[in-house]
């Protein structure tokens, strides 16, 4: 089972590396969205410093959401997903493997890129560390919950916008605690409560999301 998991992760990573453009596009999108905010609200440093956690988190949310369609769509289109459904491996393992791979090419690069953008917003060093931590805990949740949405909208017309409509309301708690942790540190308090809640949310998502995704995939192939 663990071998199957490794194989799925390795396969999906290899596929992503063969189409590096897709992965890079989402990162560029993330950078552009973040850059647009100072242009829109003005370059006042205090204002930007106060808004930075929210801006970075919302941009990360959108970038992660845009990459969700990659999760199952290609495998669905060429029939690989159907073979996975009838394979000897439990579907849950395959789904978790795909989510891990998805996080490694979407959430992880965002997390690593975020402090660079944080510097642009003049975030203090402690806040930058917390930003990386909160994104590190929070972005897997985005991949997990997003997986449910991606599976539900497989092959449905208007899938992209629909996916956003389904998934974004469910992202609210992650956004609140993720951005909240950075705000807390910026105002000189401990981020531990927020990060713990984010961790709790990650634990719940790990338990529920793969199951719901499997159910949604079976529905899609009914």
């Amino acid at each position: 089972m663990l071998g199957g998991l490794k194989a799925i992760v390795a396969r999906d990573l290899r596929l992503s590396m063969r189409r590096r453009g897709d992965v890079l596009n989402h990162l560029v999108f993330f950078v552009i969205v973040v850059t647009l905010f100072p242009l829109g609200v003005g370059a006042e440093p205090n204002l930007l410093r106060a808004m930075a956690p929210g801006i970075l988190w919302v941009a990360a949310l959108l970038a992660a959401m845009l990459s969700l369609q990659r999760l199952f769509a290609a495998d669905f289109a060429d029939g690989t997903l159907e073979q996975m459904l009838i394979s000897a491996q439990p579907l849950g393992v395959i789904v978790v493997g795909k989510m891990i791979a998805h996080w490694m090419v979407s959430g992880l690069p965002l997390t690593l890129l975020a402090p660079v953008l944080g510097v642009q917003f003049d975030l203090p060093q402690a806040a930058l560390v917390t930003l990386v931590l909160s994104l590190g805990i929070g972005t897997p949740v985005l991949s997990l919950i997003g997986g449910v949405g991606a599976a539900l909208t497989l092959g449905v017309r208007g899938g992209g916008v629909l996916l956003a409509l389904l998934v974004l309301p469910l992202y609210v708690p992650v956004l609140i605690f993720g951005a909240g942790a950075v705000v807390e540190v910026s105002s000189g308090m401990s981020a531990a409560p927020h990060l713990s809640l984010l961790g709790a949310f990650l634990a719940i998502s790990c338990a529920v999301a793969p199951w719901a995704t499997c159910a949604a995939l079976r529905v899609a192939y009914d």
Partner: protein, 259 residues
């Protein structure tokens, strides 16, 4: 087919037989038709009594004046909006587990009514907020979570509408509704904590704890009216859904007035 022949096939007795009987859209359709006038009449009577008490019997509020009377619609709508989502998720889960056709139809019949009550709760809340708080909208925990609830309803309706095959739409909607119902308390508490952390208690929704008996009566009557209305409307909508989905069935063709 008699009850006995059902028993022979392993059906669990008469009670189970009745339940299973009405789980069939064909049997439920006339039953719903018979129930709609009753619930409709109850809704009208309760709403009339509730509105009479709200506007003529209940005293004027000492602090908020006449504006507080929005509460009679606002609270009933807010209760219904949350309750209906749970009911919808229950029907959806039932449909997913037992694989009954009617459950999915019930879930998709409830969603528009739930969304309507959510919208009414938000709108009447805004109308109430303007005279009492001096603003249409505050990022209060309850308002924000109610808004997100509206988004969840929209998501459910958008998903079930986007999928052509009605059976698949029901089951996909069911998965979403269940995920949503797990999320509702999480969203509610996270918004509440976000609110207390970010914003001082400048505006509080909590009113004086002691409420005049007539006010409470009016509110409960309105809430009951909202219940009866929801049941009547959902039954009417589920009848249309049944007709639409079963249009090729023999029994639908046999209905009077359907060619």
């Amino acid at each position: 087919m008699t009850i006995d022949s059902y028993r022979l096939q392993g059906e669990p007795g008469i009670r189970g037989w009745l339940l299973f009987r009405f789980a069939a859209p064909q049997a439920f359709y006339p039953l719903a038709g018979r129930m709609i006038p009753w619930f409709g009449a109850l809704a009208t009577l309760l709403a009339a009594a509730g509105l009479y008490i709200s506007f003529f019997v209940a005293p004027t509020d000492a602090q908020q004046g006449e504006a507080y009377r929005i509460i009679f619609i606002h609270v009933a709508a807010a209760w219904m909006s949350m309750f209906l989502y749970v009911v919808m998720a229950c029907w959806a889960a039932l449909g997913l587990v037992l694989n009954t056709r009617l459950s999915g139809m019930m879930a998709s019949a409830i969603a528009p009514t739930g969304a309507m009550f959510t919208f009414i709760a938000l709108w009447s809340g805004a109308l109430w907020g303007k005279p009492t708080w001096g603003t249409w909208w505050v990022w209060d925990a309850r308002l924000t979570s109610e808004l997100i609830l509206l988004f969840l309803y929209f998501g459910f309706m958008a998903l079930t509408n986007a999928i052509e095959d009605s059976r698949r739409a029901d089951r996909a909607g069911a998965v979403l509704a269940i995920v949503g119902v797990i999320n509702i308390p999480i969203i509610y508490f996270s918004v509440q904590w976000w609110n207390t952390l970010h914003q001082g208690a400048s505006v509080s929704l909590t009113r004086a704890p002691s409420m005049a008996m007539t006010m409470l009566t009016g509110m409960l009557l309105m809430a009951l009216a909202a219940w009866m209305y929801s049941i009547a409307v959902v039954l009417a909508r589920v009848r249309s859904i049944i007709l639409e989905r079963e249009r090729d069935a023999e029994w639908v063709r046999g209905l009077r007035g359907v060619e």
